[in-house]
């Protein structure tokens, strides 16, 4: 089938997004060009605005409009506990679970030599600096229960222990292979509650 050039470009760009296959990209593209014009202009504006305003929090590396982010400025949240997660969406999942009232730290991935991700590609240095500054009692490792998430937790446990801080891990095992974002709130709250020192 022959597409006109601009539709082909739209399908290509949409197809680069995670979780969007060629069929979905095609459906979205045709929807966007046939729906009322506001649908596309609003979407385009929202994307541009998000890109312009959003940045990484200089403290926890979460995505935020204001730096430091809301959570890093929230006095009610304890600075003595830091919960380390892989992705910004994991912060959302944990917040929904209402099981944690400390601060977060977002790694933006997990260790994976196959994808060329070593410790220097994650925000580990920044985390160590936060701990070195003092005032932190416990770091809770809430990386995913995948092989890479588990390995990342082990690595962090080692480097953090050298700094004399208490380190704990969420209470779920590796065979589950569960991603945090797909874990329901009750289970997550229980996993934080039952965390074990490592």
């Amino acid at each position: 089938m022959q597409y006109t050039r601009s539709i082909r470009r739209l399908i290509e760009e949409l197809g680069k997004l995670p979780g969007i296959g060629p069929k979905t990209a095609q459906r979205l593209a045709y929807h966007l060009v046939t729906a009322s014009p506001e649908v596309s202009t609003n979407l385009a504006a929202a994307i541009v605005e998000a890109r312009e305003k959003l940045r990484y929090c200089s403290e926890c590396a979460d995505i935020t409009e204001d730096d430091p982010c809301n959570m890093c400025r929230d006095e009610r949240r304890s600075v003595r506990h830091i919960c380390v997660v892989e992705q910004p969406r994991d912060v959302v999942a944990l917040e929904k679970a209402h099981g944690f009232s400390g601060r977060y730290h977002v790694l933006h991935g997990s260790l994976s030599p196959m994808e060329g991700i070593g410790p220097e590609r994650l925000t580990i240095d920044r985390l160590l600096e936060r701990v070195r500054r003092g005032g932190v009692d416990e770091v809770i490792l809430a990386t995913n229960a995948s092989l890479e998430g588990e390995a990342t937790a082990l690595y962090l446990a080692k480097v953090l222990k050298n700094l004399g801080v208490k380190v704990s891990r969420l209470a779920f095992g590796l065979p589950v292979g569960a991603d945090l974002e797909y874990t329901d709130g009750r289970t997550l709250a229980r996993a934080i509650e039952g965390r074990r020192e490592v």
Partner: protein, 363 residues
């Protein structure tokens, strides 16, 4: 355990396949290249959720069709409810459902038993170590809880560590981390294999020795020095092997020790059957391995696996053929392909005839 019902759509050369097999003997007749082996493969997929001979999922799908479906209804035991397993095969992915709920492949393998005989089995002896490792992983691993998950983690940890070795970078801490992962899961696999073999190997040897009067010995050849078979001891053995071969590993840039480098060796009267065994001896080992697998199933689960024989029975000499048929007489469900000639069975059975992707019941 037996198959009550098999259903397939757009699988290999079959458009539509609907069969209600006999609970004991099923004979499938047909000339070559009509679809007998594909039928056996469909039976296997219905029980295991994967094929034993397709290299790509796409090979399983009928030409020009988007996907294939294979479904079976299984009677696990007299006391248990029927189990419905449905495998949907797309060129790039597969979906397995048990009673409508999606499951991982490892889960159904632990619930359904199947033992397959094909002419290619001979490669288990003649071929490279990979086939023998696959045999241990696929056919024995299912009797060890968590084996499939551990195996996946083990392979992934290996890929990660090898990637790091290829990059040559990595801090000491990072190198240690992935070495530990490889050894941790490698030890679990190694331990499970050794424990399973300890029970399984005597069954194989007893059968072989009874038939041939020879003395069969099966040895697990490991890439590491084994001093104990619990996880902890094996993890230490693996870690030590990594330290010992550090220079070599950096030269070849891959992990050289672990269950992924191990092998099984078959010795007849002290000689390696792979190099020195006759064709007849090699066949007898295969037969002993397979019949012992059936026994192993019965021992471990108290059930009979479904038995599939694709074109093998008539390659055997009369005493061996009788040994197979005797072993199968124990209430197991058997599917057996034969040539076009009518097969005389004294037992109650159903007979099917295959012509060009159409399977019909006879008589």
């Amino acid at each position: 355990m037996y198959l009550l019902h098999l259903e397939a759509r757009d699988f290999r050369n079959y458009g539509e396949l609907l069969v209600a097999p006999h609970p004991s003997l099923n004979i499938i007749r047909g000339q070559n290249a009509q679809g007998k082996s594909n039928f056996i493969e469909a039976l296997y997929v219905s029980l295991r959720g994967c094929s034993y001979r397709a290299t790509r999922e796409a090979d399983l799908i009928r030409w020009g069709k988007p996907c294939a479906v294979v479904g079976g209804i299984i009677k696990p035991g007299s006391e248990e409810a029927d189990l419905s397993i449905r495998t949907l095969i797309h060129p790039d992915r597969k979906e397995i459902r048990v009673d409508g709920n999606p499951v991982r492949r490892g889960e159904i393998v632990e619930r359904t038993g199947v033992v397959l005989f094909t002419p290619e089995d001979l490669w288990l002896i003649k071929g490279g170590p990979q086939g023998r490792r696959r045999f241990m992983d696929r056919e024995l691993g299912l009797f060890s809880a968590g084996y499939f998950d551990d195996l996946q983690h083990c392979r992934r940890a290996l890929s990660q560590r090898n990637a790091l070795l290829r990059q040559r970078g990595g801090s000491r801490a990072e190198n240690e981390l992935w070495t530990e992962q490889v050894c941790r899961f490698g030890a679990r696999i190694l331990s499970a294999r050794l424990k399973l073999l300890r029970e399984y190997v005597p069954l194989v040897c007893r059968l072989f020795n009874r038939w041939t009067g020879g003395d069969l010995n099966i040895r697990y050849q490991s890439s590491v020095v084994i001093s104990g078979i619990d996880n902890g001891a094996l993890e230490n053995s693996l870690l030590k092997a990594v330290v010992d071969r550090e220079k070599e590993e950096h030269r070849f840039r891959q992990t050289l020790s672990g269950p992924h480098r191990d092998d099984l060796q078959f010795m007849i009267n002290g000689h390696d059957a792979r190099s020195f065994g006759s064709q007849g001896q090699q066949r007898a080992i295969i037969l002993a391995l397979k019949l012992a697998q059936i026994e192993f199933w019965q021992l471990r689960t108290g059930r009979q696996p479904v038995i599939l024989l694709d074109d093998v029975l008539f390659e055997l000499d009369e005493p061996r053929r009788r040994a197979v048929l005797d072993a199968l007489r124990n209430r197991a469900q058997v599917f057996l392909t034969v040539g076009d000639a009518v097969f005389q069975s004294t037992d109650e059975h159903k007979s099917f005839h295959v012509v060009d992707g159409n399977l019909g019941e006879e008589g």
